[in-house]
Symmetry: C2
Subunit: 360 residues, 2 copies
């Protein structure tokens, strides 16, 4: 049985989104246990409104504070020791939940999670990873999407390891292909950090495809695309902006005059199917990878449908033994990733059969 803690107060819409999403999730996954974290009376009122106070899958855990969406992370970490995010992180740390989901302030979520849960051994920095839809109909896992603006080659290498482990754990792909985001496919392309990261990846046992370019994300050339957080965040937000613009223009065109409106009626089922195929809400839920616990970040503006998918992601990550998968994959590369390492050739490769807890 999987128990997931939900920060019910986070995001732009708080309870009005998180409660309906939780109820829908329980309906479709009756085996789950959800710990609803936040202001008890407010949560109870929201549940009562939905006639869902007595559900056996739900427990409530009171948290007296809420981190504001624009609050400086350091302040939230220092001053709000009973925030809904902090309480969620503690539940995971204490083994009372396998994962937690929040749509709250990203910076604060990362700072608190890192402080409470700590990073996995041999991981320097956690990264934000999310799936983007691709032409193959699957998702391309991309990381980092904004946690680390200045990366050195070993960070990019660690992102590749974590991304591989994530896709392996969640999607069941045995040796996911990894692409290094660059401005050309040739080995000589790119800045110094990327060139050195490419050498580390080439020398590793990861299924390294080589350099990929921006368009490869949506082509689905590789299962994982690795980049620093600045580049990843720009790529993600640029995509959001383009999708928004195209959507708005197509809507405007179908409303312009009588004929387009008639055409819209005819085209509606097709356009709906199109919309469903590219609906970004289905891809909501970014993983904060590299922590000793599963943390899923929902988009702040998520609606109930999108937040539902973030819970689903936490559920899949917990079921897929994400942390064990990362630990095990990392264990192959400890000497390579550690700063004191001499060369990839000397890496002590731990047999895959070994229990992760024995090798870390």
């Amino acid at each position: 049985m999987v128990r997931i803690a939900i920060d019910c107060m986070g995001g732009d819409h708080g309870l009005s989104v998180t409660i309906p999403a939780c109820l829908r999730f329980i309906k479709l996954h009756p085996d789950v246990q959800l710990v609803l974290v936040g202001k008890q009376t407010e949560i109870e009122a929201a549940l009562a409104k939905k006639k869902a106070l007595e559900l056996p899958q739900i427990t409530i855990r009171h948290a007296s504070e809420v981190v504001e969406m624009d609050e400086p992370p350091a302040q939230a970490l220092r001053n709000k020791k009973d925030s809904s995010i902090r309480v969620c992180a503690n539940l995971v740390k204490d083994g009372l939940a396998s994962a937690f989901v929040s749509a709250g302030n990203t910076g604060a979520l990362m700072a608190i999670s890192r402080f409470v849960l700590k990073t996995l051994d041999s991981i320097d920095r956690p990264a934000i990873a999310s799936s983007l839809p691709n032409m193959k109909g699957k998702g391309t896992l991309m990381l980092d999407l904004g946690a680390n603006v200045d990366c050195d080659p070993s960070h990019l290498f660690q992102f590749a390891v974590m991304g591989s482990a994530f896709v392996k754990g969640i999607e069941g792909i045995d040796r996911p292909t990894v692409g290094l985001l660059n401005i050309g496919e040739e080995v000589i392309k790119g800045n110094e950090v990327v060139k050195k990261a490419s050498e580390l990846l080439r020398a590793s046992e990861l299924n390294f495809y080589g350099n990929v370019e921006g368009n490869d994300i949506y082509k689905g050339t590789t299962d994982v695309v690795v980049c620093d957080g600045f580049v990843g965040n720009v790529a993600l937000k640029t995509s959001e902006g383009l999708a928004q613009m195209l959507g708005d223009i197509i809507k405007t065109e179908f409303k312009r005059g009588l004929w387009p409106k008639v055409a819209a009626v005819f085209a509606a089922p097709v356009l709906l199917r199109f919309k469903k195929r590219v609906d970004h809400r289905r891809y909501n839920g970014a993983a904060l990878l590299g922590l000793k616990g599963i943390v899923i970040k929902s988009h702040g503006s998520a609606d109930a449908y999108a937040f539902f998918h973030a819970i689903k992601r936490a559920y899949d990550a917990a079921n897929g033994n994400l942390l064990d998968s990362i630990r095990l994959t990392m264990s192959h590369y400890v000497p390579l990733a550690a700063p004191a390492a001499s060369s990839a050739g000397e890496a002590v490769v731990v047999p895959v059969e070994a229990k992760p807890d024995q090798v870390i």
Copy 2:
């Protein structure tokens, strides 16, 4: 009268694209003079096929060599002194053409242009700038799109100056707004290079809006968006990939079964208008800014319609006195941009009335 040199041999399709584009351009702009550069007999044959050998707006300039699309730039620069790109650059350098257009090898085009034309005084590195469509129905000029993978703050600042001057010269906007591409709007966001560039821009007389995010490119939040070439290239190619995927999915959905095919007939005029509004070919033609001459790079895979727009961009840039505009704008910032400068406050501001040649 504007005279533009055309590299007829460049790009994936060479003469089969460049010649029809030139003929169409002459038809719509009979005041232009085009110098067709490349293998004379081949150009003559292509013109003869279109019964266009005797057009008064056309002259042919023979170039015996062609730079291959995958040729290393240094090799093209060293060994092919009579390539069509090189001859075009020489025509501009010698004042025999106001601008030139090529769909050839980007690296070679940049290397040859830089070698032959030299960079403008007080510009350290040329940048690649291109317009992207935005929700306001205009273009957002974005630079750098891949010429410079490692930039320091003063490079980003120079990109901002050149971008402003370009938009002013071409679009006639008096004080274009400039956004600095970042991963958040807050001043504290971003890496060190971006933070320092932000300080330079804030202290300048440019119309600096502040930080913008990826989605602002397509929102049209600012007239100009500045970033380093790595980030810009990734953003551009990610956009291309997403647009391609969305286009492919919508096509597939309209072909799936009888009803969608009927719907497609009804929706065709609307979809065509949509396609026209977001047609990237209309935005073809990136400017190599910062050189002592106007160089426009067409997409290598451009068709005749797209290549036509690249010629149009060269024509507008020449008519808009692009170089004078950049020189004049830069002249305000020479002390700021030069490495030896002490502070923006001490910048010698040259009156706008001054002739650029007197101040540079």
